[in-house]
Amino acid sequence: MIELWFVILCFMLTMFAVLEGWDFGGGAVHLFVARTPAERREVIAAIGPLWSWHEVWLVGAGGTFMVAFPRAMATAFSGYYMALWLALWSFVLRGISIEVGGHLRDPLWQRFWDVVFAAANVLLAIIFGAALGNVIRGVPMDEGGRFSLALFTDFGVRGQVGILDWYTLLVALETLLILGAHGATYLTLKSSGPVHDRSRSMAGRLWLVAALVFPLVTYGTWAVRPDMFIHLLERPPGWVALAAIVAGAVAVFTGYRRRRESRTLAGSVLLIVGLLAATGVGVFPVLLHSTLSDRFSMTAGQAASGGTGLGLAIIWWPIALVLALVYFTFIAWQFRGKVRPSDDNQGYS
C-alpha cells in the first residue's frame, strides 16, 4: 500500500511537471519567440485554456501527499517555509498575469503583464528545479525529525545545507533548460507562422544546451547520492525509467531533425517522465533524506498515515482519475490543432 501511494504521488507530480512544464517553458520563452502583441496573444491562447487544469495536479499532489504521508508533508513544508511561500507568490503572479493581460486593450498594460508572466515562469521553473534538487540532496533533519532550511549556507551538499548549493542550482538550471525546450516544442506544435519558426529554433538551441549540461547533472547526482544509482540498477522499474529516458531523447532528436512535431513533443514528455520516474525509483523508500546522518532520514513507511485510511482512499482515487481523463479528452478534443486567433479569444472578439 505504501509503495502504491508513493507511485500515485510520483504520478501526480509527473503529470504536473509534464503539463505545467510546457506552460512554464512556453511562458519563459514567449518574449523571445513572439515579438508583437498579437504573436504573444497567440502564445497565451496556446496556454490559456488549460493552465489551471495543469496547476490542479500540483494541488492534487499536495492533497495526496497529505493523506498518504502526513508526517513528511508537515515536516517538509514547514521546513521549507520561506521557499514555499516564495513559490506560492510566484504562482499567484503567474496565474493573474495570464488572466488579466487580455482584458485591457492597451499596449503598455499587455507588455507589463507579458513581462510579469515570463518572469514568474522563469522563477517557477528554477524553484521547482531547486526543489527537485533538494529532494535528491536531502535536508538537514535532526534526530527529532525536524529541520528548517536557510536559503543558502556554504553551497556544500553535506551537513548544514541550505536550499541553494552547487548541486541544487545545477538541477535548477537543467530544469529551466529542459522545461524551456519542452515549452518551445509544445509551442511549435500549437502555433503557426513566425511564432512557429522561432519556437522551433529556440527548442533546438535549448535541447542542445540541455544535452550538454546533462552529463554534469548526472555526475553531480552521482557525487551527492550514489545510492540512487545502485537502487536504479537493482530495481526493474528503474530499468523502465532508464529506457524511457533513452527513448525520449532519441525521439526528441529524430523528431526534431525530421520536423515531426508530435514525435518531438512525445519524446520530450517521455524524457521528463523517465527522469522523474528514475528519481522516484532512486530515492524510494526515503522521502526526506537527512544530510546529517542516514539514521535520521524519514522513510515512506515512517511518514505514512496509519490504519485503514489509505485502503479507503484507493477506492475513490481511480474513479476520480478516470473522470479527470474524460474531461481532459473532451477539452483537448475541443482545443485540438493549432491556435486559431479569431476563435480562441476569451470572448473579446
Binding site: 508583437t36 520561506m82 479569444n345
Partner: protein, 458 residues
C-alpha cells in the same frame, strides 16, 4: 507578539477570508450562467446568450482570483499547521485530495472552455462546459465543508497506535450530518451573494438608463433568486445549523448569544455588548424564551449558559464571536426585507422604475460578502479553543519550526500582494461593468488577432 500561534491563526484567517470572497460569487453566479446557456441553446434566446457572455467574463476573472488565492490554502496546512497535519492529515487529507481530483479537475478543465471557447464549442458543448463548471464549484464546496465539518464535529475517524488520526469509515466521514446542514446553509448563502451581484448590475444599468433589456433581465432574475435564497439561508438551513451547534457545541451557542448564566426561558438578544469581565451583556434588548424555542423547540427548554461549562472550553474570543454572529443574523434578516420589497414592486410592475429601490439594490451587493464572512467567522471562532472539536486544541496545531517573525513576514507580504490583487480585480470588473453587456463587438477590441494596427504598438 511572542506567541507564534496567534500569527499563524491570523494568516490563515486572512488568507481564507480573502479567498472565500471569490468562490462565494462563482458558486452563486455559476447557476445563472448555466440557466442562460440552457436558454440560449434550447430556445435560441439571444438575450440570455448575451447575459451569459457578459457574466462569463466576470466569472472568469473571479474564478482566476479564486484559483490563485486558493492554491496557498492547500499548502498552508503543511507550512503553518504542521502539527495539525501530522495529527489529522490521514483524515482531512482525504477530502482535500478528493476536492482536487473530483472537483478542481472538472472545473478547471471546463472553465477555460467557458471563458475562451464559445465559438469553438458551439451552443450545446458550451452549455455543458457551464454546467460542469457550476457543478464542479459546488462539489469542491462540499469537500471543503466536509473537511470543516470534521473539525466542528468529528466523525468516522479512528486513532492509530501513535496517537494520530486515520479514517475509519469513508461513508460516515462524507455524510457527516454537520456537513450536510452546513453545506445547504453555505450554498444558499453563496446564491445570495451571486444573485445580489446580478441584481446590483441590473439596478446600475437601469439607473443609468443603459442596456434596458439586459438590466430588466438581471433585476428580475436576480431579485427572485435572492429572495428565495435569503429565506432558505435563514430557514430551514440556518435554523438547523443553530440546532447542531446547540446539541454539539454547548459553550459556542452560549457565547454566540452572550449567555453567561444557564436557565429556562432563554432569551434571544437583538442588540447588546458582551462584558466578559462582569460576565453579563450591557444594554441588551431581548426577546424572552426565543432562544429556548429556536435551539430546542419549546419556550421553556433549559439552555445552558457559559457558567455550565469549564472555562477552558469557552470560545477564546467571546466578544468577536458574539458580534460576527449578530452581524450575520441581522444582515440575513435585512436581505429578506429588501428582496421582499423588490418582489412586491415587481408584482406591481414597477421594479425597474422605483429609483430609491434601485439605489438600494445597487448598493446592497457588498453586504452578502460581509454576511458570508461573518457567518464563517462565527463557525470558526465558535470552534475555538479546539482545532478539532473535543480532540485537538488550536494551541497544539501550529508548525513548531516556524517562528513568529517568519509568519509575520509572510502575513505582511500576503497582505500587500492581496491588496494589489484586489485593486486589479476591482479595476477590471469595473472596466467590464462600464463596457456593459453586448458591447464586445463594437470598437477595436479584437483580441489575439494579427491586425496591422496592433503590431504598430510594439
Amino acid at each position: 507578539m511572542d506567541d507564534p500561534t496567534l500569527w499563524h491563526r491570523l494568516q490563515f484567517a486572512f488568507t481564507i477570508v480573502y479567498h472565500y470572497l471569490f468562490p462565494q460569487l462563482t458558486m452563486g453566479l455559476g447557476w445563472f450562467i448555466v440557466y442562460w446557456k440552457w436558454r440560449a441553446w434550447r430556445k435560441g434566446d439571444e438575450r440570455s446568450a448575451e447575459a451569459a457572455r457578459y457574466w462569463a467574463k466576470i466569472f472568469g476573472l473571479t474564478f482566476a482570483m479564486g484559483v490563485v488565492t486558493g492554491l496557498p490554502m492547500e499548502f498552508q496546512f503543511g507550512t503553518n499547521w504542521a502539527e495539525f497535519t501530522k495529527f489529522s492529515g490521514g483524515v482531512i487529507g482525504q477530502t482535500l485530495a478528493m476536492e482536487s481530483m473530483f472537483a478542481f479537475l472538472l472545473e478547471s478543465a471546463l472553465v477555460g472552455a467557458l471563458v475562451w471557447g464559445e465559438k469553438r464549442l458551439g451552443p450545446r458543448n458550451h452549455f455543458i462546459a457551464a454546467l460542469g463548471v457550476a457543478a464542479g464549484s459546488w462539489i469542491s464546496g462540499y469537500f471543503i465543508i466536509v473537511t470543516n465539518a470534521f473539525m466542528q464535529h468529528p466523525v468516522g475517524h479512528a486513532t492509530a497506535a501513535d496517537g494520530t488520526l486515520y479514517l475509519g469509515s469513508l461513508g460516515e466521514y462524507l455524510t457527516n450530518r454537520w456537513a450536510i446542514i452546513q453545506f445547504a446553509h453555505n450554498q444558499c448563502a453563496a446564491l445570495v451573494t451571486g444573485s445580489f451581484v446580478v441584481a446590483a448590475a441590473g439596478a446600475f444599468y437601469a439607473l443609468r438608463g443603459q442596456h434596458a433589456e439586459q438590466a430588466r433581465l438581471y433585476l428580475r432574475q436576480g431579485t427572485l433568486v435572492a429572495l428565495v435564497a435569503s429565506v432558505l439561508v435563514a430557514f430551514p438551513t440556518g435554523d438547523q445549523q443553530a440546532k447542531m451547534v446547540a446539541s454539539h457545541q454547548g459553550p459556542t451557542l452560549a457565547a454566540m448569544e452572550g449567555r453567561f448564566e444557564s436557565g429556562p426561558m432563554a432569551e434571544i438578544t437583538l442588540i447588546g455588548q458582551p462584558n466578559i469581565r462582569e460576565r453579563r451583556l450591557d444594554n441588551p434588548i431581548k426577546v424572552p424564551g426565543m432562544l429556548s424555542f429556536l435551539a430546542f423547540g419549546t419556550f421553556h427548554s433549559d439552555v445552558p449558559g457559559l457558567d455550565a461549562f469549564p472555562a477552558d472550553t469557552w470560545p477564546s474570543n467571546i466578544e468577536l464571536l458574539y458580534y460576527t454572529f449578530h452581524v450575520m443574523a441581522g444582515l440575513g434578516t435585512l436581505f429578506i426585507l429588501i428582496m421582499g420589497l423588490a418582489i412586491l414592486q415587481r408584482l406591481r410592475g414597477r421594479l425597474e422604475h422605483t429609483r430609491p429601490l434601485l439605489w438600494a439594490l445597487m448598493l446592497a451587493f457588498p453586504f452578502p460578502f460581509i454576511a458570508n464572512t461573518a457567518g464563517w467567522m462565527t463557525a470558526e471562532l465558535g470552534r475555538q479553543p479546539w482545532l478539532i472539536y473535543g480532540l485537538f486544541r488550536t494551541s497544539q496545531g501550529a508548525s513548531s519550526v516556524v517562528g513568529s517573525g517568519s509568519v509575520l513576514f509572510t502575513l505582511v507580504g500576503l497582505a500587500g500582494l492581496y491588496f494589489v490583487l484586489g485593486l486589479l480585480y476591482l479595476f477590471l470588473v469595473g472596466h467590464e461593468v462600464m463596457k456593459g453587456p453586448g458591447t464586445a463587438d463594437e470598437g477595436p477590441a479584437r483580441y489575439g488577432e494579427r491586425s496591422g494596427e496592433e503590431s504598430r504598438h510594439d
